[in-house]
């Protein structure tokens, strides 16, 4: 069953009808960010519009800089963070790609930048709709990556993101992905906690001995070459490993202080306990899947969903445990990875790899669906489940990747 608890719906919380982007802006205000940089691209830019209003109205005091391109947008906050400022940035689609060089350097610099990626298909051809390839492009580079599904999750995850990224054991950048339009622009009732609680949850950003300041005259990122680069990569790797424990700690504290939030930070399990077929996806794709599951359950079919929240670090051990009881797994990617094993999407192959050492490897089917923001329909989901059923019966994986809802 869904593990989101609504116990102790804290009475001090304000209820607001806001979009995912606006919910992020609420958190940024509560987190008292210091420097924020904007550049227009849909759909993420709605968060910057919301921040601009907060600044104009004096609700947030921060340096608000409209940059001349995403490369600068990310470089400006990177440098602001090294002198001790809490920073926020974001982008979508090709904008995120334009910043690529800067995205590469933030993890080894140990800059705990928090970003919103409003997932968007990569041009060409022009498309505003959601695809996850933009955020996924940094998956190997030391960015922590998570996907959110609701405005409430947007608000809560933003606070958790600062807590995790700015933890001295981690100091890595973190990108929160929100499906373009489906979440960035859709409004829902969201509980906004009081600042006093946030202050209990989120300590001040303290860069410590890495602070760039005349009182701490360090040299940051000198030329290292083969003498040291591999050790620096190794340190990044260790930080990412430590992130697992730090994320669990942060969610536990969040639940203690705010009285809500999931017990399992890594993924949402929806009717997955006893499920014979488990579908896996990220982001707002959960909505049509959940509706389809409810219909199938009414007919006695044991289907469930695992909605992945965290992609980096990837919760492979917990996933293996959660999947081992299934008779078949169907991974629905809202992304592509041309030429990859089985020509699958990115998530499917991560899960295949996760299962490799497992004692029980249920048959796995890979689907690609909803690219470019195309709606994922109940029909698409039903089709996937039918194929998974067949695989459950035969006990065999299917080496093909199935594109759903596509003109052939």
């Amino acid at each position: 069953m869904a593990t989101v608890t609504t116990t102790k719906a804290a009475s001090e919380d304000k209820e607001l009808l806001i979009s995912g982007s606006e919910a992020v802006a609420e958190s940024l205000t509560l987190a008292d960010i210091d420097v924020v940089t904007a550049y227009p691209i849909r759909p993420y830019d709605t968060v910057m519009q919301a921040i601009a209003k907060k600044i104009a109205n004096g609700q947030l005091v921060a340096e608000y800089i409209v940059a001349e391109g995403e490369h600068s947008q990310f470089e400006i906050v990177k440098h602001a963070s090294t002198v001790g400022a809490r920073v926020f940035c974001g982008s979508s689609g090709v904008g995120w790609m334009y910043a690529m060089e800067c995205l590469v350097v933030t993890p080894p610099l140990r800059v705990p930048m928090v970003c919103l990626v409003g997932n968007r298909a990569l041009d060409d051809p022009g498309a505003f709709g959601v695809e996850h390839n933009d955020a996924l492009v940094v998956r190997d580079l030391g960015w922590m990556l998570c996907w959110i599904d609701t405005s409430q999750e947007a608000l809560d995850t933003t606070l958790i993101a600062y807590r995790v990224a700015e933890d001295r054991r981690i100091f890595l950048p973190l990108a929160i992905s929100a499906d373009g339009a489906f979440l960035t622009h859709s409004q829902a009732i969201t509980m906004v906690p009081p600042k006093e609680k946030v202050d209990r949850f989120l300590p001040r950003y303290d860069r410590g001995d890495l602070l760039l300041h005349p009182d701490n005259p360090i040299t940051v990122a000198p030329q290292a070459n083969e003498d040291w680069v591999i050790e620096i990569r190794r340190q990044n790797d260790e930080a990412m490993k430590r992130a697992v424990g730090v994320i669990e700690e942060a969610y536990a504290d969040f639940r203690r202080i705010f009285g809500r939030g999931p017990e399992n930070p890594w993924f949402e399990e929806y009717m997955a306990d006893d499920a014979e077929v488990i579908l896996i996806g990220m982001g707002t794709i959960s909505l049509p899947i959940k509706v389809a599951i409810r219909e199938m359950r009414a007919k006695g079919k044991k289907v469930g969903l695992i909605r992945l929240r965290w992609f980096r670090p990837f919760p492979f051990e917990r996933l293996v445990k959660a999947l081992s009881g299934a008779k078949a797994i169907g991974v629905i990617d809202r992304d592509y990875s041309f030429g990859s094993p089985f020509h699958s999407g990115v998530v499917a192959n991560e899960i295949r790899a996760s299962l490799y050492n497992a004692d029980k490897r249920p048959p796995l089917l890979s689907f690609i669906c909803g690219l470019g923001g195309r709606e994922v329909t109940l029909e698409d989901v039903n089709k996937a489940v039918d194929m998974c059923d067949a695989a459950a019966r035969s006990g065999k994986s299917d080496a093909k990747t199935h594109w759903l809802g596509v003109r052939e």
Binding site: D32, A62, I65, E75, V83, G84, P214, I218, P222, A224
Partner: protein, 342 residues
């Protein structure tokens, strides 16, 4: 958090009145590995000497990073950080904005800290032009962007940039049997571009380390006036220009005396020539450009025709430009004369 009033205070850095008055402390010391005779390394040393200890320096990729700042042998005494090749503008802006946010919100002790971002000609005048331009419009953040111009992408083995002089031999513009000159673009006028295009940037200057005290004083002016500022330094580079390292100082002087590189500052919109450039503006004859060009291997393939073309272009900048050496709009009479010829 409540906003407190927070101004744009800068440090008080009086000009050095002569070489004997220059402070002895060094903030760029041993440890760097630049070529013998590297003028850009001297520029780094003078730049931070002028700025003093309460300074943060950001350096974009290039010789002054790769050859200058190696792990365990950093020459920087002041805090220093690398920035991406095209990011000197963003590095200055982000650092200044971070400091300002923390100080005005009471999260850091308030004090004026100099922020200097340097870039090469490739990083600054080609790749990073947009970011520098943006930074020069943010008048609420104090910073200096210093472009050290060795007239090539030197670190990657001397390739031509938008700042490489006409006709120069670089590894991307080798003279060949069919094409003597591969590089036929005239050098960007980057200081003039910055001064003319950014009306709220209060200070732009050109400098040459052959005139060290004046150079340091321009840095001090740029750091005290407030807001974003820009300095363009012409730096002879023995490797890229192909000359005996002992000639670095002399080539810097010749670049000025031939009128190829004018020394001036633009403060609050007023152009002021200085040093030997001032003398040229006041009528002292310029030395012929061949005196400068033929001392450098990168022009060894030049014919008389090439030398004449180069001379003519430099003459134009003095005789026909609205503001000689600074703004390339033609004077009305020069423009009419050109029309009449047609």
């Amino acid at each position: 958090m409540a906003e407190t009033t927070f101004g744009n205070a800068t440090q008080v850095l009086e000009p050095f009145r002569g070489i004997k008055k220059v402070t002895l402390e060094e903030y760029f010391t041993s440890g760097h590995r630049t070529c013998q005779g590297c003028e850009s390394a001297l520029v780094m040393k003078l730049m931070v000497k002028a700025a003093g200890p309460r300074t943060i320096v950001l350096g974009s990729t290039g010789c002054m990073y790769v050859a200058n700042t190696t792990y365990y042998t950093t020459p920087w005494v002041v805090p220093w950080m690398h920035t991406q090749l095209g990011s000197s503008g963003s590095a200055a802006l982000g650092t200044a904005a971070g400091l300002k946010a923390l100080m005005r919100k009471g999260k850091m002790k308030a004090e004026p800290i100099n922020v200097i971002a340097f870039c090469g000609d490739g990083g600054g005048a080609d790749m990073g032009l947009g970011a520098i331009s943006a930074t020069l419009t943010h008048k609420e953040y104090n910073s200096l962007i210093l472009l050290y111009d060795n007239e090539s992408y030197a670190n990657t083995d001397i390739q031509l940039s938008g700042m490489t002089p006409y006709g120069a031999h670089t590894t991307f513009s080798p003279p060949g049997k069919v094409h003597r000159l591969i590089h036929k673009r005239w050098k960007k006028n980057v200081a003039g571009l910055m001064a003319a295009g950014h009306p709220e940037c209060r200070y732009v200057a050109t400098v040459c380390a052959s005139y060290a005290v004046e150079m340091m004083n321009k840095v001090r002016r740029a750091l005290t006036i407030g807001g974003p500022t820009f300095i363009h330094s012409l730096d002879p580079c023995p490797k890229g220009w192909d000359y005996d390292p002992m000639l670095s100082h002399e080539l810097g002087e010749l670049a000025i005396e031939t009128g190829i590189f004018p020394l001036y500052e633009v403060e609050d919109g007023v152009v002021k020539y200085y040093g030997k450039t001032k003398a040229i503006v006041e009528g002292r004859p310029r030395k012929p450009v061949r005196d400068y060009l033929l001392k450098q291997g990168r022009f060894a393939h030049f014919t008389e025709e090439d030398l004449a073309y180069f001379q003519e272009k430099v003459d134009q900048q003095w005789e026909q430009w609205e503001i000689p050496g600074v703004v390339p709009f033609r004077k009305l009479d020069a423009a009419q004369a050109a029309l009449n010829v047609k």
